[in-house]
């Protein structure tokens, strides 16, 4: 399928002669596009040798959690950036070695907590490959719905906080209002808002309740309207463009070599999306497009994520239309709990229930690396089994961890105030980075 390319239709080159981001004035011409202006006369020369060391974070609201950046400044320009992470480290991978597979699902909620249901799906898919399980058709579609809803949720948080960081307050409220609707849908489905634990190895914790699809359809119908509103406020806004164009540029080669993934990589013009290139959950049968940027700057990352929101709505629409009837869970008493009514009335089911809960399902000896396209990028779960009910090694490949590692490369040479914009464009979640 042809991939769509998002073009930046603004007439600013981005950088001035000194390599500083060019500011766009508060005027637009009749067409609404920003007008390029001459860069302001060069600022007074920085005093030589007067480098300043400042500490951004770990308790700074614009660092989106407990990220700490030590910045060496020459005047207002960042000369060097040394990131420090680990303030939220809780040893998820170590704890996973002491938990059964279904118990680990509760931990996947808590790493990338903006995408918790998507992590549940990713982990369950990885574990199912390790177990050699093929899930049912209904389960596949439900999981696609879950993934795309959480992608929208995560992107809305990113959009809202990005706006706040740059100084726009209204889109934040619009975004969080719609996010609340998704939270209500998720709560109706699995009973929790943030810590969903929605999947099980071989199926889901619960099928959707009666009437749930009506709520989803209503969301699909009304959500693009909000997107249009935010689009109208931001995309051609001169302040927005001035604060984002030309910042933190990564060329395609650099982006690949630094291991960026997700919207960060696609904004640089590399058309790599796990859903298209290594499909899972039958994503190859859905009709959607992967937005790809051209310049690899903060503005392109914004455009790419924004278009992804629209594409997620398309996928949700198709998933809602094709949701088949049938069972959600596979029929394998070795991994799936029997219904409660049977567990309390039939001897055999009670034994299965007991063994599943007390011992836990056992995969064969082996290993699997399962990557999904999380809102942040390629999220992988690498599991190694030695045949017992607990993994020998459970490794999370956190996309924002690898994306954040490139922040020194992106901010060096830019202004201090642009560090905030660049950091926001990475879309980091510290829970996932520190684990």
């Amino acid at each position: 399928m042809a991939r769509r390319t998002v073009e930046v239709e603004l007439s600013t080159s981005g950088l001035d002669a000194q390599g500083r981001p060019q500011r766009v004035p508060l005027v637009t011409n009749d067409g609404g596009t920003a007008v390029a202006v001459e860069p302001p006369p060069s600022v007074e020369p920085d005093l030589e040798g007067e480098h300043m060391l400042i500490n951004l974070g770990p308790q700074h609201p614009a660092t989106h959690g407990v990220l700490r950046l030590v910045l060496e400044l020459d005047g207002e320009t960042v000369v060097r950036c040394i990131p420090h992470i680990g303030y939220l480290h809780c040893g998820f991978e170590k704890i996973g070695e002491y938990r059964q597979y279904n118990q680990i699902i509760c931990w996947t909620d808590r790493e990338d907590y903006l995408n918790s249901i998507g992590n549940n799906v990713a982990f369950a898919l990885g574990a199912e490959r390790l177990f050699g399980i093929e899930i049912t058709e209904r389960c596949k579609v439900l999981r696609v719905i879950a993934c795309e809803l959480s992608r929208i949720m995560s992107h809305l948080v990113w959009l809202g906080t990005f706006c706040i960081d740059i100084g726009a307050f209204t889109p934040f409220l619009w975004a969080f209002q719609r996010r609340e609707e998704i939270y209500r849908l998720i709560e109706k489905w699995v009973g929790a808002r943030l810590t969903t634990s929605a999947t099980r190895v071989g199926g889901m914790a619960a099928d959707i309740p009666n009437g749930w699809m009506d709520g989803l359809r209503q969301f699909i119908r009304t959500f693009p309207h909000t997107l249009d509103e935010i689009d109208r406020v931001l995309t051609k806004n001169a302040i927005w463009v001035g604060r984002t164009v030309g910042l933190g540029v990564m060329t395609p080669e650099e982006a690949i070599n630094w291991g960026l993934s997700g919207p960060m990589l696609r904004a640089s013009g590399v058309d790599y999306d796990v859903r298209k290139d290594f499909p899972y959950l039958d994503y190859e049968t859905y009709d959607f497009e992967v937005p790809v940027g051209t310049n690899g700057d903060v503005y392109d990352r914004y455009l790419v994520r924004f278009e992804e929101l629209r594409q997620s709505v398309r996928i949700l629409q198709q998933a809602a239309d094709r949701l088949p009837d049938g069972p959600v869970n596979i029929d394998d008493p070795r991994v799936i709990l029997p219904p409660k009514s049977k567990a309390t009335s039939e001897m055999e089911s009670m034994i299965h229930h007991f063994k599943n809960v007390m011992e836990g399902p056992r995969p064969p000896i082996g290993e699997s690396y399962f990557a999904v396209e999380s809102p942040k990028g390629e999220k992988g779960y690498y599991m190694v089994s030695d045949g017992t009910s607990k993994p020998v090694r459970w490794r999370i490949r956190p996309p924002s961890f690898v994306n954040l590692a490139a922040i020194p490369k992106m901010v060096e040479g830019h202004l201090l105030s642009d560090v905030i914009a660049i950091n926001a464009s990475i879309d980091i979640v510290m829970g996932e980075i520190d684990r």
């Binding site: 399980i133 699997s368 954040l404």
Partner: protein
Amino acid sequence: MSRFEVVRTGASAPDSQPATQRTVSHRTEPANPSAKALQEKFSSAVKRVEVIWGETVVYVDPAAVKQMMGWLHDDPSQRYDFLSDLTAVEYRDAEVPIEVVWHLRSLPYRRFLRIKAQIQKGQPLEIDSVYDIYRSADWLERECYDMFGIRFRGHPDLRRLLMWESYKEGFPLRKDFPLRGRFSRSEQLRQALAQNPEARYSMEELTIADAFAELPTDMRDRLSKGERTGE
């Protein structure tokens, strides 16, 4: 349909083959062609090739890792330009060697390859860094060092990443590391309280330009005596 009802479709359904490990589709996939190419190019350094759940695993000689990665990255027929992940695995069986695992992707050919190098127990935990080939290995190798104590030769800045620099309890993801840590809670608390809260910058950062001169006098004295900051 009830929310918790399980409908019989698998083993107990009539006329259907139960889904076992052998009948699922991803078991039958052929090996990645790159594995064969690696065997031809580096005959002795490739120890074993396995396909497990559709993923090709190549066990290689630890000494040849960097050379192989460089070839996989640069050769026009391979072009593994994306390092997805780098990690290590230690098994519960103390005799089984520690494995360092690289997950590579070739974006032009849409291929996925897992490279594994085994470091025998008793050998020094050292392996060549692939930092020069993939910059994404920077933090991944630092994390691997932090968690497993594997030293990557040639990494320019192999410091602890997730744990703080003065962390003394060892390497948390090693199997001989207890789940609750080596030190007691009281010892951990004592060490935390003994840290110097003023020392916000590491030695490396304090060497930056003139920042050192701006520090309070007592802190400058301590640092000039070689005292490590507590992060």
